[in-house]
């Protein structure tokens, strides 16, 4: 097991800087999820840790060893690729055992460890098949097996579930988590799926344009997003972000003022703010009571319903769990829970604490 420390890390392709001066500390045994939209540099960062991408500046350390110029094979890491990258000409057994074979492990030892990994991942009956004779989920498990067989100090996952169907994804998510609990290995997991980020990580790193936007426990990032970008990115359906005016008495959204009602409001307020309201913190009511709008779409999911309400030229998303007789085109009023608002400075887009 090992810790990973990135300090002042940079990556540029010619004049284009894709990672800018990035610092990140990953503790021994921690499961860290790098999340962000495509092109934010999360995969590049992972590949730099893996040794597949040259580091343009700064320092990457695994435990206390600077690995900037250490070849991938000597970093004692394992990686699960998005497309699995299984060797098509080798059987499952050979795929899993390849890294041990490369390290000149005795045959009997390879056999033993491959069997153990296969057992753990329910791959034993498939050991003599080639990857082409496996389903997507099975291939994914072989890729996992190849990673765990060597007992590396750091696991790297590059969007490993994005090629699976929704049901399998949920299953594999749980399986990877369980595996992590069992092996306790330091893991870095890249995804663009914020559900994976929320459910899997001990720590979430939200990235944008090669910069870290926020680092924290998933629930903290969800509850206290540091800026407008994180607020909009984490959470599904996304947080509503609306321009508003706030002062000591309350907050005015779309011409409607709501009192703080005892909620902790920031003492120093800029006049222009962006108000963030999670869909579950908006109440649907009669039009005269709240922000007036018209119901545009209704998505009943069974356990909960997501409605989109047009207010002026924006749309607000509402999530509710009870059955309500709301129909398309209905005029409704939306009331925010004032103790669950997120306020951001309209200029800097940073959270106002």
């Amino acid at each position: 097991m090992a810790s990973v420390t990135l300090s002042g890390l940079k990556k540029s392709y010619g004049a284009v800087e894709v990672i800018q001066n990035l610092d990140l500390e990953i503790a021994d045994g921690e499961f860290v999820v790098l999340v962000g939209p495509s092109g934010c540099g999360k995969s590049t960062l992972l590949r730099m840790v893996a040794g597949l991408e040259r580091i343009s500046g700064g320092e990457a350390r695994i435990d206390d060893k600077v690995v900037n110029n250490v070849a991938a094979k000597n970093r004692d890491i394992a990686m699960v690729f998005q497309n699995y990258a299984l060797y098509p000409h080798k059987t499952v057994r050979q795929n899993i055992g390849f890294s041990l074979q490369m390290r000149k492990t005795p045959k009997a030892e390879i056999e033993k460890r491959v069997n153990e990994a296969a057992e753990l991942l329910a791959l034993t009956p498939l050991l003599d098949r080639t990857p082409r004779a496996l389903s997507g989920g099975q291939r994914q498990r072989v890729a996992m097996g190849r990673a765990i067989v060597r007992d590396p100090s750091v696991f790297l996952f590059d969007e490993p579930l994005s090629n699976l169907d929704a049901k399998l994804r949920v299953e594999m998510r749980a399986q990877i988590k369980a595996l992590h609990r069992r092996l306790g290995a330091t893991s870095i997991y890249v995804t663009h799926d914020q559900v994976e980020a929320m459910t899997m990580g001990d720590k979430v790193v939200v990235m944008r344009d090669g910069n870290i936007q926020q680092v924290g426990r998933p629930i903290d990032v969800y509850d206290r997003p540091q800026n407008v970008f994180v607020a909009g990115f984490i959470g599904s359906p996304s947080m509503n972000l609306i321009p508003a005016k706030a002062d000591g008495t309350g907050i005015t959204i779309s011409g409607k003022t709501f009192g703080w009602n005892g909620a902790d409001f920031p003492s120093k307020l800029p006049s222009e703010v962006i108000c963030g309201i999670r869909p579950e913190n908006l109440r649907l009511g009669s039009p005269e009571k709240g922000i007036e709008g018209i119901v545009e779409t209704i998505e009943p999911m069974g356990g909960e319903t997501i409605a989109s309400v047009s207010v002026g030229d924006t749309n607000l998303t509402v999530l509710y769990r009870d059955r309500r007789p709301v129909a398309l085109g209905d005029k409704v009023g939306l009331t925010p829970q004032t103790d669950a608002l997120h306020l951001f400075d309209a200029q800097t887009e940073q959270r106002i604490s």
Partner: protein
């Protein structure tokens, strides 16, 4: 879907089949004719029809027991196999470089390595002879292996580049993380996945070396350096009266090994020739 929609119109099928039949005849007839001639005697060669009336295997017996045949066969085998192995070895390394690395003049270099194949072989013989004589390599296996390899490498490299490019880079990255050196990545991952390309390039190189004639004629002089194609040429000269049935028996004997190889690897060759370009 009705039957009409599934198959092409009768006229198209007639044209397609006619073309295929013509092509087959064009390819196979000389071999069949040669085989037929090899079963006759010089006297009955022209008097009998296509199918010999009294077929005889005497000519094959004479070929196999002829002076030096075993030596020529051994020479041909040794030179073909050695130059093919060398060709594949060099081409794998060259093709890997072209497939995986972007470097200045890559395209020009890629075209440049084809030059030996664009030039007529005859035009190379005099300058090569000078070089080889200066190196004191005339009449050696070495010179034939070098020249055979040198002419086959461009073709094999071009075939392999397409295959290597089709191997996803992630497989090599996975192998690198699994602890493989670049050497191991090439020989344990890239090459096995490109097997159809290796077989195609290998068989084509082998065939070229097997049938090669100008170089062996120009650069060797002693009898025990001769290869089968050289002997075929020599047979015509030596006998005064050309024994066509014997020559044809010899021809058939020499093409059998290549034919067997083709049949063994037919599937890989077909997929190699067709898939490398578009994959």
């Amino acid at each position: 879907m009705t039957n009409d929609q599934m198959s092409s119109p009768l006229s198209t099928r007639v044209i397609a089949w006619s073309a295929l039949i013509l092509l087959t005849i064009w390819a196979v007839l000389p071999i069949v004719w040669s085989f037929s001639a090899s079963l006759k005697t010089p006297l009955t060669l022209y008097s009998e029809g296509f199918i010999p009336e009294n077929p005889t295997l005497d000519n094959y017996g004479r070929v196999l027991s002829s002076d030096g045949f075993a030596q020529y066969l051994a020479n041909s085998l040794y030179l073909s196999v050695t130059s093919t192995v060398l060709t594949l070895f060099i081409s794998v390394l060259g093709a890997y470089g072209f497939a995986r690395y972007a470097f200045a003049w890559r395209h020009i270099l890629l075209l440049f390595i084809l030059v030996p194949r664009i030039l007529p072989r005859a035009s190379l013989i005099i300058p090569l002879y000078d070089v080889i004589a200066a190196l004191d390599l005339l009449d050696t296996y070495t010179v034939l292996i070098i020249t055979y390899t040198a002419t086959a490498v461009p073709m094999a490299t071009w075939i392999l580049i397409g295959f290597f490019q089709a191997v996803p880079i992630e497989l090599e990255e996975a192998a690198a993380i699994d602890g493989a050196s670049i050497w191991q990545r090439i020989w344990k991952v890239v090459v096995p996945i490109s097997l159809p390309g290796m077989v195609t390039a290998g068989i084509l190189s082998l065939r070229e070396a097997w049938n090669e004639f100008p170089f062996v004629l120009a650069f060797t002089s002693s009898g025990d350096m001769r290869t089968l194609p050289y002997q075929l040429y020599a047979m015509r000269d030596n006998m005064g009266l050309t024994d066509w049935p014997l020559i044809n028996a010899f021809t058939i004997t020499t093409i059998i090994p290549i034919l067997i190889l083709y049949l063994l690897f037919e599937r890989q060759i077909v997929s190699g020739l067709t898939s490398g370009a578009v994959k």
